[in-house]
């Protein structure tokens, strides 16, 4: 089994990290750079910053946050929210982002995925899918879980891969912020068919939930509420997974920050 990643997810609104339940009722959690530093020190394998309202407000604070984070945090940083073009992506990569996550713009114009992959390589392109259960399967949503697309989430994931995505950030709108565990069926349905890594996101409440997602073929787990509220540290999650026999990052006796 390849090494599984534990990813700290920061949902950003203006200059702050926010978190809600099922993508609604967003509350301020704290300062993005302080939190990024904190999770880096706890041994997070990666940071994902998603601008929750990028399509509504200016983007300057996101750029500032990323620019500061790369001076302090020496792990990969994925940035998403409101990226509409190769030029938007180039600017964020230039500042120091390692990967770009797209959702709304890719649904509106799927060729964007190919354009980004051609310009920066597939490894740079994360397609973010916000999936909500419906009577049969799941529907992909855009605009931070607000807008219907009519797209079947599983088919969209497959299509995104064909178009050149290097990774899928798979968020369950239903489980997000609930602490009740990832949507295991969703995770398995997408990850089993995907030839690219899948990050399970939404619902983590205990380290056991991470293990369930990994056993359902997730290549990485994103955690947010649980670590924001101090319920679990990234290090606790890692220790739990290691004890369960999951392959995680090793750093020997080296200090983490």
């Amino acid at each position: 089994m390849p090494t599984v990643r534990i990813i700290a997810r920061l949902d950003i609104k203006g200059p702050r990290v926010v978190k809600g339940i099922r993508f609604e009722g967003l509350r301020v959690v704290g300062d993005p750079n302080e939190l990024a530093m904190n999770y880096y020190g706890q041994g997070a394998d990666e940071i994902i910053c998603i601008d929750t309202v990028a399509s509504l407000y200016g983007r300057n604070s996101l750029k500032e946050i990323v620019g500061r984070a790369v001076r302090e945090v020496f792990i990969p940083i994925t940035v998403g929210g409101g990226i509409r073009s190769v030029d938007d992506a180039r600017e964020l990569l230039r500042i120091g982002a390692d990967k770009i996550a797209v959702n709304t713009a890719a649904v509106n114009r799927p060729e964007l995925i190919t354009e980004l992959a051609m310009a920066f390589g597939s490894q740079c392109v994360v397609v973010s899918i916000q999936a909500k259960r419906r009577s049969h399967g799941w529907e992909a949503y855009t605009d931070y879980g607000r807008e219907h697309t009519g797209l079947d989430a599983l088919e969209w994931a497959k299509r995104a891969e064909e178009l050149g995505a290097g990774e899928i950030l798979l968020s369950s709108v239903d489980m997000d912020g609930t602490g009740q565990g990832y949507d295991i069926e969703l995770t398995r349905s997408v990850a089993e068919k995907a030839g690219i890594p899948v990050i399970a996101s939404g619902g983590m409440g205990t380290p056991r939930h991470c293990l369930e997602a990994i056993r359902s073929k997730a290549d990485a787990v994103a955690v947010a509420s649980s670590i924001h509220h101090g319920k679990n540290g990234v290090n606790d999650i890692r220790a739990f997974l290691m004890n369960a026999g999951v392959s995680v990052r090793q750093w020997g006796q080296r200090s983490l920050s």
């Binding site: 599984v4 020496f74 792990i75 990969p76 120091g96 390589g121 490894q123 740079c124 690219i196 006796q253």
Partner: protein, 212 residues
């Protein structure tokens, strides 16, 4: 104090992150995109993200390919990262055959999606442990002080296949596929992984490079 490092900026690398990592360990990092500046370097870093052919074209466009070959002859320290390591070799099989800088004999080929009875996800994204290739001793290399098995961050779809084993310093087992993780021949070194994104382990490797 503060060793000066020149980072090649040819529009294909995460230069900001690489520069920050060097500054973190006390170096002064500056970016260069012209051949004349390359030759003034005491320590040179070639980062790189993306496709091989596109990366080589971007180097050629700026006349940097010849400058990098000339620099390597000086015997001063030279570190290639990710695509920057791959272009040190003769050629790549990415989209047909593309010649590289040819500073090391060997080629670059796709990570096989299937093999050794397993199916692999490509790109290989994530943290993997590195181990000495051919029981190579890491003392005196860029991996000096790294504990075999320590994890570093990889993001790649292609891998280097050197013709000579002696330049392979470390390898990493990706689902049964042994990927060349680090190379070194004298002052010419390379990492397939991203030391600038590999936490404190990566910063130690960067520090080792500066000690060359």
């Amino acid at each position: 104090m503060g060793t000066e490092v020149i980072i090649i900026d040819y529009g294909r690398g995460n230069v900001a992150s690489v520069a920050q990592a060097f500054e973190r360990v006390g170096a002064r990092a500056s970016l260069a995109s012209t051949p004349d500046k390359v030759m003034t370097a005491d320590f040179l870093v070639l980062p790189g993200v993306g496709a091989f052919a596109d990366g080589m074209a971007a180097l050629k466009e700026r006349g940097l390919d010849e400058a990098l070959k000339e620099y390597s002859l000086t015997g001063r320290p030279f570190l290639g990262i990710c695509l920057g390591m791959q272009v040190l070799f003769d050629k790549s099989e990415e989209f047909g055959n593309t010649p590289g800088l040819g500073l090391l004999p060997g080629r670059v080929a796709a990570i096989p999606r299937e093999g050794e009875g397993r199916t692999r996800k490509v790109p290989h994204i994530g943290w993997s442990g590195i181990n000495p290739a051919d029981r190579r001793d890491w003392a005196g290399t860029i991996l000096d002080g790294i504990v075999p098995g320590e994890s570093v961050y990889f993001v790649h779809s292609y891998m280097a296949l050197p013709d000579i084993d002696s330049c392979r310093v470390a390898e990493s087992d990706y689902e049964g596929c042994l990927v060349t993780a680090a190379i070194q021949e004298g002052a010419l070194a390379g990492c397939q992984f991203h030391p600038e994104k590999s936490g404190q382990t990566g910063l130690k490797i960067i520090q080792n490079f500066l000690g060359m």
